[in-house]
């Protein structure tokens, strides 16, 4: 991990020095060690705060929507999952590609701070990792015990970039990403209802999921727009949050790359990605496998059709 970070800083320094880029989008250390934050570095000097370690879970691509509009080219480091979001944003004309220099970096799963806390670690003094383990404050964890949910099922590959930094150390996913979706589908309607009622009633409408989501880049969200007919700031009845989450999932259906940021940032630990994954698994099942963000040209499943598509009445296998 250290050599990866070193190589990244070298790359950033070189590009800043040559003037090819004027800014670098990366991660900055926090006070507690695991509270790494996305940050823009504008000079070689400022790179002292630059970091890349097992805590850099945040997806940087969404920041480019704003950053790429500004003057000067920006260097961005993209983990595999970030690069799918990046591609999707390119497809939707949300990022000015000519203003961005992309460097793909490899990733073997990022640590989930909540799981650290559960293991009694409140702050990080030192950390190191291998492909399969993470050692924090001298304590060694197996990756599958400690990394983010989204990383456990990750099968994403390094796509195409201006440059790639990789030492060919890839971690294999330890779980099937649709396992929980399948489990829910196998439940009775009553059980599913109870599950979601229980989960979604925790929602406090902090909008963290919406704010982090790289597919949610609307200038103004329909939920904030009086003309949409569904605007609401807070939940006025208990269905509101269901409605919010269904609509949000629907709005990103076919565009969601399954980056998992929504669940990562949810302060209430609601497994929001299970809504998106339901759409993804239905799309794969009904219309053929589709991975949003794998390319920048293909038509999304909801802006496409075949004349022989299944009827809504047959989605469950007949009326």
């Amino acid at each position: 991990m250290q050599r990866l970070k070193t190589a990244m800083i070298e790359k950033a320094t070189a590009l800043l020095t040559s003037g090819e880029v004027s800014k670098v989008l990366g991660w900055k250390k926090g006070e507690l060690g695991f509270d790494v934050e996305p940050a823009v570095f504008t000079s070689v000097d400022s790179l002292v705060d630059f970091t890349y370690d097992a805590f850099c879970g945040a997806n940087l691509s969404k920041y480019l929507v704003e950053e790429s509009k500004k003057e000067g080219k920006i260097l961005v480091f993209l983990k595999p999952c970030d690069s799918y979001s990046f591609n999707q944003l390119i497809k939707e004309h949300r990022i000015k590609k000519e203003n961005v220099y992309t460097v793909g970096i490899e990733c073997q799963g990022k640590v989930d701070p909540y799981k650290l806390k559960e293991n009694g670690i409140e702050f990080v003094t030192d950390a190191s990792e291998t492909v399969d383990t993470v050692t924090v404050n001298g304590k060694e964890f197996k990756k599958e015990e400690i990394i983010l949910g989204k990383c456990l099922t990750c099968t994403k590959k390094l796509l195409s970039y201006d440059d790639v930094i990789s030492f060919n150390e890839k971690r294999e996913p330890s779980l099937d990403r649709f396992e929980m979706v399948k489990k829910l589908e196998a439940m009775t309607a009553d059980e599913r209802y109870a599950f979601w009622k229980d989960q979604l009633s925790n929602c406090i409408r902090c909008n963290a999921c919406r704010n982090v989501c790289p597919a949610c880049t609307c200038t103004k969200c329909v939920f904030d727009n009086d003309n949409s007919g569904i605007a609401s700031k807070a939940n006025s009845d208990s269905f509101e949050e269901k409605m919010f989450h269904i609509i949000r999932a629907f709005h990103v259906a076919g565009r969601c790359t399954d980056c998992g940021e929504c669940s990562r940032v949810c302060p209430q630990h609601i497994p929001l990605h299970l809504l998106n994954r339901k759409f993804i698994s239905d799309i794969d099942r009904l219309y053929g496998e589709y991975q949003a963000g794998e390319d920048t040209e293909s038509k999304g499943p909801l802006t496409n059709y075949t004349t022989g598509d299944v009827d809504p009445s047959d989605v469950f296998g007949g009326k």
């Binding site: 939707e92 004309h93 949300r94 200038t219 103004k220 329909v222 727009n225 003309n227 949409s228 007919g229």
Partner: protein, 663 residues
């Protein structure tokens, strides 16, 4: 402050008998924003409209709700009413309390309650309506006629006569259609060729008409006034421009086993052929299934014989694209296949023929040169039995549920002609009903019975079988209450007619409505009988419903009049209910353009103020209002809610939902 007027129509007793219209008016009057609420016997009548006009002026209404029949019926009427009183026509909403309320409910209380809810819903929507104005689009001054039978020919001639260019696209190698195959025509008994072929020649000679035979419609894009049509000109392996129609190639062609389509397969034709003597264009065509050169490369006799080098074995299908302002569908009919009617032995016995086959057998240009002989042994039949309604009026699933309309008359014609030319021939006709509405039609039929002694038997045939060389026709004689068996030499089946099978594909391409029998639907059975509900698509001939020649020609001319009316305009008013993008919300993500069937959405980079005296360049969607047809696909695809549909906005529909769901 909105001032809304509510107008509840009785529709005579159509609404008032089931809905308490006074109560509806009264309750709706209490709705916020409603300043006047009236009820009247016929709101669509001049008096009713005057009542609305006066109320608009008197109360300064900002919008009106009419509780009446379906908006598909009178929305346009009331919009005009509003407009004439100075109100924007889109400030009108209709609550459908007839088709969707009074006509389907019996309980007055229940129907009244529903009518009130529908009224409230319309008021809720109206409150969010905004005055709309229609854009304009230019009209391409050229018409397309699909189908070159008598319907297409007549429509094309009339349009061309009015001074507009028109193309006829015909799938067969010649125009003329079914009528060209007929011998004589009822009720005047003049010969079909004598009245049709001059019209065909007119088409060929008219400068405004371009005939494309052996061609099919490949795709249709666009909208009224601006259709873009791709036409596939199928390879005929003969250069149309060079061929003089001399016919030498036909004589020399060694492959003579092709079924002669023009003679209903009753005889054969060579692989290179001209469909019939008066074909337009009078140009040969090669049947690749039969041609030895095309099949195995050996022959080439026709090319050697051709003086003008018109033969081109390498010819390929060609696709051309043209623009039209209007499209006439005149695809016509064909007799149904008789596979479900084996009791009449059509597939089993050679001497059981269809009426269209009989036309060819009796036609001077037919396979027997007009000498009526039976197909099996070419002998003159002495007893001929006609069976009517073969597959018509059949709801069992074997045939067609409708009356084919032409069979009674042509059967009477056949019977009469046979009795006249061969007085020693016995003619029987099995019928269910003889239907002869039309000028001089019943007189015609009676002549067959009274003057020519044709034996009409009321009853259907149950079975046709061969015994001792005769075709035994066993059926009911309901008047005599007997079962009769008539030993016959020739049996003629009046097979039902059905729309040309290609019409479904064409209807889909031009987005015209089509009914369960594959007949194209007219916009209104009485008031707009020659137009499809889809603007710019017109219906000519049997594609709209069974018709005889006089009716077809009348409809074809009516259709042409409508087309000319359209083409005479320089600009058309567009649909006002179009999509528009809120540029402040739009992120330029391109999702909407992906689902637009009309290509109406483009993206532009526009400068926006972002405060602090700064601006930024943003990519936003822009809707071409002349092209947008207002389906709304983009509005749902748009995640940001920037795309909305005028007249059916998110807020309006939500308001309707709210009003309906209010308990």
């Amino acid at each position: 402050m909105q001032k809304i007027g509510v107008f509840v129509c009785w529709c005579g007793s159509n609404i008032a008998a089931t809905v308490d219209v006074k109560k509806v008016a009264e309750v709706l009057k209490a709705e916020p924003g409603v300043v006047i609420s009236e009820n009247y016997q016929y709101m669509c009548s001049e008096n009713g409209q005057a009542l609305i006009r006066n109320a608009i002026k008197e109360h300064g209404l900002t919008g009106i709700v009419v509780c009446s029949c379906s908006p598909r019926m009178h929305e346009a009427t009331f919009r005009k009413t509003a407009e004439s009183a100075g109100l924007n026509p889109y400030m009108v909403e209709i609550a459908n309390i007839r088709e969707q309320c009074s006509w389907i409910h019996k309980d007055i209380e229940e129907a009244t309650e529903k009518a009130i809810i529908l009224g409230r819903s319309a008021i809720a929507k109206l409150k969010l309506n905004a005055p709309l104005t229609s854009g304009e689009s230019a009209v391409v001054k050229r018409a397309l006629v699909i189908g070159g039978g008598i319907a297409g020919i007549q429509s094309a001639l009339d349009i061309a006569e009015a001074g507009y260019e028109v193309d006829i696209v015909e799938s067969a190698p010649t125009i003329g259609g079914n009528m060209a195959k007929l011998d004589k025509t009822f009720p005047t008994l003049d010969c079909a060729a004598c009245i049709l072929t001059p019209k065909m020649v007119d088409c060929a000679q008219n400068e405004n008409i371009d005939i494309m035979t052996f061609s099919e419609i490949e795709s249709v894009k666009g909208f009224v006034g601006n259709f873009k049509v791709q036409i596939r000109r199928k390879a005929r392996f003969v250069d149309e421009k060079k061929c003089t129609g001399c016919g030498v190639c036909m004589q020399k062609c060694p492959s003579k086993k092709g079924k002669n389509e023009f003679n209903m397969g009753l005889n054969n034709r060579p692989a290179i052929y001209i469909p019939f003597a008066q074909a337009i264009p009078n140009v040969a065509i090669i049947d690749p299934e039969q041609c030895l050169k095309l099949k195995n490369g050996k022959c080439g006799l026709c090319a050697m014989q051709c003086q003008v080098n018109a033969i081109d074995y390498t010819q390929k299908d060609e696709i051309i694209e043209r623009e039209y302002g209007a499209i006439v569908v005149a695809t016509g009919y064909k007799p149904i296949s008789l596979e479900n009617f084996n009791e009449y032995g059509y597939d089993t016995y050679k001497d059981v023929v269809t009426s269209l086959e009989l036309e060819r057998l009796m036609n001077a240009a037919g396979p027997s040169d007009g000498h009526l002989v039976r197909p099996s042994d070419h002998k003159e039949p002495k007893v001929i039995t006609f069976i009517q309604c073969v597959g018509s009026r059949d709801t069992s699933g074997c045939g067609k549920p409708y009356c084919s309309k032409i069979c009674c008359m042509y059967t009477a014609k056949h019977a009469m002609l046979i009795r006249e030319k061969y007085p020693n021939t016995e003619v029987h006709v099995f019928y269910i009903d003889v239907r002869t509405p039309g000028k001089n039609y019943d007189e015609f039929f009676r002549r067959a019975v009274e003057q020519y002694g044709v034996d009409y038997i009321k009853g259907m045939v149950g079975k046709v079988y061969e015994e001792n060389g005769k075709l035994m026709v066993q059926g009911s004689d309901l008047i005599n209450n007997e079962q009769v068996v008539i030993p016959s030499d020739l049996v003629v089946l009046a097979a039902a007619i059905e729309p040309n099978p290609s019409v479904r594909k064409i209807a889909t391409m031009v987005t015209a409505s089509i009914d369960t029998n594959n007949f194209l639907t007219e916009a209104h059975a009485k008031l707009r009988p020659v137009e499809s509900p889809t603007a710019g698509i017109f219906l000519s001939g049997v594609c709209q419903g069974p018709k005889d020649i006089p009716e077809t020609v009348s409809q074809a001319s009516a259709c042409a009049a409508k087309v000319v009316g359209l083409l005479s305009k320089d600009k058309l008013k567009c649909n006002a209910c179009v999509s528009h993008s809120d540029e402040m919300l739009c992120t330029g993500c391109s999702v909407c353009a992906n689902v637009c069937p009309y290509g109406a959405i483009t993206y532009v980079d526009k400068e926006f103020r972002i405060g602090g005296g700064k601006t930024e360049l943003r990519r936003v969607a822009s809707v071409n209002e002349a092209v947008c047809q207002g389906c709304g696909a983009c509005t749902v695809a748009c995640p940001s809610g920037a795309m909305d549909l005028k007249g059916f906005s998110n807020k309006q529909i939500m308001a309707e939902v709210d009003a309906i769901c209010k308990r």
